[in-house]
Amino acid sequence: MATPKTVMVIEDASLVRLYCRSALEPAGFRVLEALNGIEALEKLPGLAVDLLIVDVNMPQMDGLSFLRKLRQSASSIAALPALVTSTESREADFAAARAAGANYYLVKPVAREQLVLFAAMFCGVPPQ
């Protein structure tokens, strides 16, 4: 039996985290959570994570600052796939996320099917 793929949802809104969990767990993913970029940096080094889903507007450390820090670090987690989600939808926002090191950008609200699809894609899970 294959080990489940692990997704860390980095998001300060509890209902968004719950929603992501409700979409991803039934699809076979293990879901971890962090409330912002600092907490994610505290937790990540000890964990085997396959994908990050990162919000942008979070207290103390926004998602893009977190991504920049992550990408600059000389550790094994630096290259983790990161899917940025945000309510913001201007070209400048996509560009900023790309520059910070995002692999993809989804505009909220994200449908459950989309979450599962992209999670599967980034985690290398074959299509159902």
């Binding site: 409330l35 505290e42 103390q60």
Partner: protein, 272 residues
């Protein structure tokens, strides 16, 4: 509720803590006569009857003792001091600050731990400062007399080596150590009391920031930042996190502990 406590106090509760949280909630529910969890949470949220502080007090172990959270002491000698020495640019010996120090267990623990566990201890000058806002506690710290509970995690040989037994099951820490730790009154949110102490390599600031409100916590974090040398480390309590307090510090994760670091603009400090 963990979310709320996290936002309000900066305390984090991971999966391993859930059991303790559940127990404390249960205790507080009984103590407050709350018939259900939701009614207790409502009470907590409005901070009725000072419930947030009462909850935190029930959760954190208020009594202090020697070698409490010794994984951080282990991190100190295994990782932090070596990195501080590698960083160079040093005009003083190593400086360590324990704030708050309560009745002295923490700074004396640091002293003992270094003498016992750091092979390089004799090669360096080490300054330890213990501070607290409570002057009665500071006087007790300077006196260095402790009861059995405070020593419960120390082995008999250690007690024999560093303490002199007194009457009534009390022990006094040896003169040598009492003379080597400095105690001073400091209010962490008042820079007039923090600044004069200069900059440190390592600050232990455990289980005090959670009692402050958001604005005071921010000011305290800025004061502590100022009191750190670039590249210096700060250790919080095991259930505390900078993630709800301040963006000023970098996160550093070691085998024994998560600590926070003041960035050093002069470049990397030799970490992977």
């Amino acid at each position: 509720m963990c979310d709320f406590l996290y936002r309000r106090t900066g305390m984090v509760f991971n999966e391993t803590k859930r059991y303790y949280v559940a127990r404390r909630v249960s205790e507080r529910m009984t103590a407050t006569g709350s018939g259900s969890f939701t009614s207790y949470f409502a009470r907590l949220r409005t901070d009725a009857g000072n419930e947030i502080e009462l909850f935190i007090n029930a959760f954190t172990v208020n009594e202090t003792y020697f070698y409490r959270e010794d994984h951080q002491l282990h991190c100190l000698t295994a990782n932090l001091l070596a990195e501080r020495l590698r960083a160079g640019h040093r005009s003083t010996g190593l400086r360590i600050w324990c704030a708050p120090c309560s009745t002295g267990e923490e700074p004396y623990s640091v002293a003992m731990w270094l003498l016992e566990n750091w092979p390089a201890v004799d090669e360096h000058e080490i300054e330890i400062l213990g501070s607290d806002i409570d002057t009665v506690a500071l006087q007790a710290s300077a006196q260095g007399i402790f009861g059995k509970r405070a020593l419960m995690r120390l082995s008999e040989p250690l007690v024999g080596k560093y303490f002199v037994p007194l009457q009534n099951e009390r022990w006094q820490i040896i003169e040598e150590l009492r003379q080597s730790v400095r105690f001073s009154q400091v209010n962490l949110i008042d820079p007039a009391t923090t600044r004069p102490h200069g900059q440190f390599d390592v600050i232990f600031c455990r289980n005090v920031l959670i009692y402050f409100d958001d604005a005071s916590r921010r000011v305290a974090a800025e004061n502590l930042f100022e009191n750190l040398l670039p590249g210096g480390f700060i250790c919080l309590g095991h259930s505390e996190s900078m993630s709800r307090i301040s963006p000023l510090f970098d996160v550093r994760r070691f085998d024994d502990a998560i600590v926070y670091q003041r960035p050093d603009p002069r470049g990397t400090y030799g970490h992977a």
